[in-house]
Symmetry: D3
Subunit: 247 residues, 6 copies
Amino acid sequence: MRILVINPNTTLSMTEKIGDAARSVAAPGTEITAVSPDKGPVSIEGHYDEAYCVPGVVERAIQGSVEGYDGFVLACFDDPGLHSCRTAVAQPVVGICEAAMHAATMIASSFSVVSTLARSVPVIEDLGHRYGMERRMKRVWAADIPVLALEDEGSSAREKVRDAVLRAVEADQSESVILGCAGMADLTTWLTHETGVPVLDGVACAVKMIEGLVSLGLGSSKVGGYAWPRAKTYTGDFARYAPSGSA
Amino acid sequence: MRILVINPNTTLSMTEKIGDAARSVAAPGTEITAVSPDKGPVSIEGHYDEAYCVPGVVERAIQGSVEGYDGFVLACFDDPGLHSCRTAVAQPVVGICEAAMHAATMIASSFSVVSTLARSVPVIEDLGHRYGMERRMKRVWAADIPVLALEDEGSSAREKVRDAVLRAVEADQSESVILGCAGMADLTTWLTHETGVPVLDGVACAVKMIEGLVSLGLGSSKVGGYAWPRAKTYTGDFARYAPSGSA
Amino acid sequence: MRILVINPNTTLSMTEKIGDAARSVAAPGTEITAVSPDKGPVSIEGHYDEAYCVPGVVERAIQGSVEGYDGFVLACFDDPGLHSCRTAVAQPVVGICEAAMHAATMIASSFSVVSTLARSVPVIEDLGHRYGMERRMKRVWAADIPVLALEDEGSSAREKVRDAVLRAVEADQSESVILGCAGMADLTTWLTHETGVPVLDGVACAVKMIEGLVSLGLGSSKVGGYAWPRAKTYTGDFARYAPSGSA
Amino acid sequence: MRILVINPNTTLSMTEKIGDAARSVAAPGTEITAVSPDKGPVSIEGHYDEAYCVPGVVERAIQGSVEGYDGFVLACFDDPGLHSCRTAVAQPVVGICEAAMHAATMIASSFSVVSTLARSVPVIEDLGHRYGMERRMKRVWAADIPVLALEDEGSSAREKVRDAVLRAVEADQSESVILGCAGMADLTTWLTHETGVPVLDGVACAVKMIEGLVSLGLGSSKVGGYAWPRAKTYTGDFARYAPSGSA
Amino acid sequence: MRILVINPNTTLSMTEKIGDAARSVAAPGTEITAVSPDKGPVSIEGHYDEAYCVPGVVERAIQGSVEGYDGFVLACFDDPGLHSCRTAVAQPVVGICEAAMHAATMIASSFSVVSTLARSVPVIEDLGHRYGMERRMKRVWAADIPVLALEDEGSSAREKVRDAVLRAVEADQSESVILGCAGMADLTTWLTHETGVPVLDGVACAVKMIEGLVSLGLGSSKVGGYAWPRAKTYTGDFARYAPSGSA
Amino acid sequence: MRILVINPNTTLSMTEKIGDAARSVAAPGTEITAVSPDKGPVSIEGHYDEAYCVPGVVERAIQGSVEGYDGFVLACFDDPGLHSCRTAVAQPVVGICEAAMHAATMIASSFSVVSTLARSVPVIEDLGHRYGMERRMKRVWAADIPVLALEDEGSSAREKVRDAVLRAVEADQSESVILGCAGMADLTTWLTHETGVPVLDGVACAVKMIEGLVSLGLGSSKVGGYAWPRAKTYTGDFARYAPSGSA
């Protein structure tokens, strides 16, 4: 099975790290390709960046569908473009936030999330509510680091994440912790050891979810919210994105 | 006060109709300008179209901010780009779905929504939930018409909307009905008479909400989820959308 | 348009202050009249006072309807008599708690409320829940001051309110703060400056909401919960309040 | 133990029927007195009537407290004045709506409510939400009869109630039905036989709840929302209701 | 009326204490018998113990039904076997957790729970949600004592419970506190005095609830979730528990 | 990896069918063993049967842990013993109800469930609520067939399931359907073709979920609700189930 992992930002070092994280948990028969869109923000920190990563993400998913990929992972914790991608392709699409939250509820009564910046906290809180997690999600914390600091080995970003995770376990009495940024994917083992509770990374969880959906032959329902886009004209610079109305 | 009403789709006849609807309820001192983005779908029907209208909507809001507009209305019932716009400008931004729902709860114990196509139903249900309306929103109905049929005088679209509204009042025992598409803005008076319950149009409600926020000096909070976008690089075709990090 | 702002308590200095606050934000064509009922508590602090302010509030609204007012604002943060007034008059009626909460959600992801006494906290929490705000309302705080201390220039009430607002912003990470008492209406500008987040006053918000509803021709639905009172006998001292069954 | 059952309306034939219903289920040592306020509506049908029954209800509860009653039942399904009474007296106070809903959840997975008029449906829905019953309360039905028709032996009111109950069981698949009006208290046995599911009357349930609370020595908490009313002036006709600030 | 109080654990000293607590609040005509199952855990601390107490609890309830008991109380705060017992017998069955929570909401706007060990906290949180208490239940605390420490007079268990109760009142601003273990039944009077808020014990509350249901003739609905078990074969050691399909 | 699929009932033909269903979707490296407990009901239809299947399920899971299985699937749609098993073993445990619901939300905006008998409907509704699915789960339907009729080739059970699935899609406008019984595992392909929406079987979904958790090294958190059982005495027939206090 071939899975396309789309890093919604355009920082290629992070795309590589995400690809490595995905490959490290993929099943033997799973081929992982990690890509970024060819346009958009180098990091996604809040609502504005989300607006400008989604077109490239959806475009890349459609291209991946043409290329024959069997399923898609969106590797940004805000799950940007998730519903649009499900509309645009026949194959299943999984976001790393939803994947981590679903997984956490199957191993623990509760979880906390540790994210990067304060501006992402309400975004994740809203996703948690949308996914039905309000009784499991104890609190969303910000480690107070920019996303790309995680790419900078000299920064104190990892220590700040660890401190936030420890604070979350202590203050929330949470039984598990989710790392709320794809750029933290390489910290799970270390932080599980540091904290004594399971620490989940969304990239890894999403790979397993998408492998499962693909092998079950489950794609997005084409009745209702994820029905194929209707054929219509798009104007201006976006004319080329107009849906043709067939799959 | 100068209000920019952004029709997120690029069908100019609909933009004009929305502008007329907005002007017809605007206060004496309010100047309404109705525009469309210069790129994107001619109608917004589901998640895919949403992805490709948002960049133009946000861009147009920022341009409007530079042009000195005091507030913004997003005139598509899916409220696309609402949170991104709030991040991108200092002035208040109101979506027509949220405006209509807030207004409905101040005049009735419950409401139903009549939208266009089935694919929009889960989108509106999710917005209703996000806005805290799950106990007031009885049901979302689809009139089973494409958005642009509302622009076609020869179509039976208006009759289908009326029939759906009557069905909603009868079946849901709702005390009010919200028209779930900006293209229905000219039907409210007629349908209020036909049904005997208040029928609300989001464009009108949003104009009054934005007038209120502007005159109170209330813009989006710049602490947390709507903080200014951080300065960073955007790559590829979207390089020009990169935030500079100052307002 | 003529708006009657009803201060549900009978402290006239507070009624004047509320009237001033309302007038300071009213649109050019809006005429504000601020009144108190001719009977009832001098301040409303909890459920008991509420019981004895409501009859006078509803009576005053009906009188206002006869006098030709176009809309009504109830200027106590417990929104006392809100639903009864909507039943009793054709014109729209807005409470200051609901108005502030609706407004806050259009400019911020979350809000906290700062009220007067601890006994009001569960009252406001229940209103927040009724209005669908449980995911936006972070916490309701009591500044621990009686309502009328706000009328006493020599008291430390203002400082206590400020301290509570600062505490709320710090502890709840809220993106906005609502002042939970009509008597705090004159503190919003000062406190917005002190805190750096938008501080909302319900009186101002309600004036804009009622202006909006009036200009849209939206009154309370007369189908269902706000149907006209049925004609019937009232006995004893309250005989004069018996509804005649016509509007 | 002496229990005062307050019928919030002033129709004495109904008060007698309620008193009989209460006595028929009271424990051997319980003395039931059923009274009406000396002022107010002859029936309570919606928000307006509620406003004008509450002062008399609270007044009667306070008088009952002075007379040495050990607990209070409010025998109108809208639970009018419930929270005000809890503030005003030391003894426990139970409403018939809350009592029936709590009881229903202990014998069935779900319930429907059959009330009188459509205008009461949103009132009861809101109470159900306030009491945390949204997942147990399948639907609130109106039998489409005025409250006092239940006092008129020649009317078809009983048959309409039965038909509504049967409809509710069939349509909602509810495991129990609550009669949503104190005037239906004499129909429970008959309707349980007709339907095959438990049919609950709030008056009976509330008598048992108040007996329980009284015998456990549990009165309303005087910390927070039900704290004693603060001493203050009431003006005009209501001066005599001013709280003295002591119990 | 004869009530069987089933202590789901098999520590007989605790069964006696529970029986004493039940008798101390029972009505004159109520005969209380307190028993334990003949098999199972000596204390119930978390999900595992629950699995192995339920068969004995249900068996004992059925035996009690044969013996002519009129109603059943399950005296463990996890309410283990509650729904199974309701299916298995015609008489009403009440759990001490649900009873205490229902009672608390009739005397206070909010409550906190003080339980024994941290592992019980998510169990009680889930029960609270199931019973619709998420808006009333402020927090569940663990006093950090094993259940049987409450039976050991020399231990500091009582002091730890008191400390946790005081902490809950202070931190949560709760208006009442529920003791989350049947073994704390003898501490309510003392802790009500220590804290100034009503402290509720589930055993006492459940006795009053079951007395009420029995005297109203209300048993579990036999339509839907609590329908009689269908006749079928059980295999192996559990063959003797197979339902015969008649009551 | 070795997965133990536990059919909580003791009907071996059904266990075989479940095992086949599991193997048909298992990854190449996954070895599936399907077993039943050595004691308990031949089918699980409601709360009573649940009580008597759980001890055998938990016992079998513990034995499986000793035998070196890497993860566990509980193959009854009521998810009986799920939390107890998570406490009892170190490896991850997944229920088929939760697995199907989590999967459905990743491919569709909504789902309906088709179960066997009416008595199971409230059980599944409660699970849906516990798993946070109240906004995704449109309705739970009963096909009105006993569980074991699905094992009887001559019965009309399959047709009844199909009819119920078609009814659900039509009436609920659901975008997917979950089969609410492990005995329906062989019907998914057929019913997906019949209905045009994805039809999900919990056994298949749970196999993929457990494969994912195992390969990520995620077991149940041993902090909080799933902490190891404390060492203690169990009395009577259940003495042998007493936890030793070590893993």
